[in-house]
Structures are given as C-alpha cells and as structure tokens.
Amino acid sequence: MTRAIKGQALVEFAIMGSLALLALAFMIQIGLRQNYQQEIQQQTFRQALSAKPGVESDDDFERQAIQVQHFRDRQIPNPSQGFAVMSRTPTQGSAAVTWGDKLTYLSDDSDSRPKIIVRLNNSQTDIISDEGVIPEGQPLIKRIDKTLNSQGKISQISNTSSSTATSTEQTTMTLSTGGTLSSSLTSDCQFQGDVWRCGQ
C-alpha cells in the first residue's frame, strides 16, 4: 500500500470516525432515555398496585381506585451540552388501578373518585380527590419550575491536572389543589488521578 493510499485512508478514518462516534453517542443517549422511561412506567404501575385503598386510613376505605403520577429526573450524558452543565432529563409515568372487589360492594354514600398519589423524585403528596379538591376543568399539574445551577473548572498546574464539576437542579411542581412538591438534586464530580468520581 503506497503512502498516498495510507494517508487517504487515515483522513477518511478521521472524518468518518468522528461521525460514527457521534452516532454512537446519540444511540446511547436514546437507549438510556427509553430505558429510564420504561423503568418509571413499570415502577409507577407497581406503586399503584402496592398502594391498595383501605389500608392507610378509613377515609379511603371505600375508594376503589388509586392513581399514581410519578415524575423523576435522570441524568443522561449529552455531548452537545457544555462542560459541567449536567442537566437532567425528566421522565414521567402514570398508572391507575381499580379493584374489582369494590365495584359490587361500594356503598351508596362512598366516593368513587380515586386517591391520587403524586411523586416528584423523592417527594410525595397524597390527594384525596373529593369533590372540589381538584377544580373543575383544571389539570392536576398546573406549573413546573426548574432551575439549574452549574459550575466547573479545568485546571493544569505544571504536570498535574485537576478538574471539578458541580450542578444542582431544583424543581417545584404546583398542583391545581394549591399544593406544591419540591425536590433538589445535586451532582458533584472531581477529577482525581486519572478518573472522574461523581457523588450525588
């Protein structure tokens, strides 16, 4: 193989290799997003099954349905973002479970409206959806506020390098009942030796 052919092959590898790497990163990002979305759907359904009515208090003894809304922010690597931004991708799952054994024996004065559980990351609120609790014609989630603060530094001191990256995302969810849910997620990464170590 002549040098010219080798050089041409090297240039082609450099151009197409970078595109292939970009495509691989894109596929990894898509795969992670789909995996997290499927995971939260399954988790939410299991939460709805395990949150059987009539267990926690007499108020929901005659309720025949549970509805769970779960919102969770996950970190997915995104090469298009700048260094140390580390934003989180929201995933959402919802499930409603109705117990058939209460369909027949539901008393006349009991309420068939479901008990609603809303979870945001590690925060949770339970809503007994009696009449008037959720205003007519209003969505359950009225407003979502997200604030992301990030800082990062890459430094080279003579023949040693040290780098840090910190990001904090605060989320506040306002419900139509007037209640709010809040969560704060923090990632703190440091370059030690020759590897990145992140704590959350």
Binding site: G82, Q138, L148, S155, I157
Partner: protein, 124 residues
Amino acid sequence: MSAGTRGQSTVEMAVMLGAVVAALVATHVYVRRAYQGYLYANASAHGQQFDPTRPYVMTQSMNKFTQRQTVDIEKVGPGVSLPGGSEGLPSVPGGELAGGAIKTTIHVETDWDVSREASYDARH
C-alpha cells in the same frame, strides 16, 4: 621597483593584514553579544514566553451556568362538544364530554459566565 623595495612592501602588507585579523578576533565577543542582545530584545517584546520546564498554571472555568425553565399547563376547551339537535330533531341533547385539550407554555432562560486564566513563570 627593486627587489628589496618589493620585499619591504610585501612584509608591510602581511603585518597590516595580521593586525586587522587580530583586531577582528579580539572583538568578535562583542559582536556576538550585540546580536544576542538584539534577539533578547525581540523576544522580550513578545512578553512572557511559555516554558514547560518552569511552573505554569492554566485554568478554564465555567464560573456560572444558570438555566430556568417554566412550564405552565392549562386545559383549553372540553374533550368533545356536542351541539345538540336541530329543529327537526329537538330531542337530541347537546353538551360537553370530559377530557379536553391541554395547552402547554414553556419558557426557558439561560445565563452563563466563562473565563480563562493562564500564568507562566518564564525563563529569565
């Protein structure tokens, strides 16, 4: 010109050339110093020079990155709106069914501050 006169001129020429060469050899040190000074002055005009054998610090910082996202959700209209019967069919009732379209408004604000610092301890 007689042979003696030519010989005297030759010796004088040789001594003169030898004296000039000796003077040049003696002053070459100063010529070299002058040229090195010219080089040093030009190099100094460029400022500090990076020397990897000397201590240096280079830092790139993202001092601040802030992104605020606001999502407002509201229901607009019913799921299905039935107009009801006409004059020919007055008994058909109209009304609205539950559901409804959702209108989502998203507002994003981003602000960042990036800086770069470098300091070298140049060779003097």
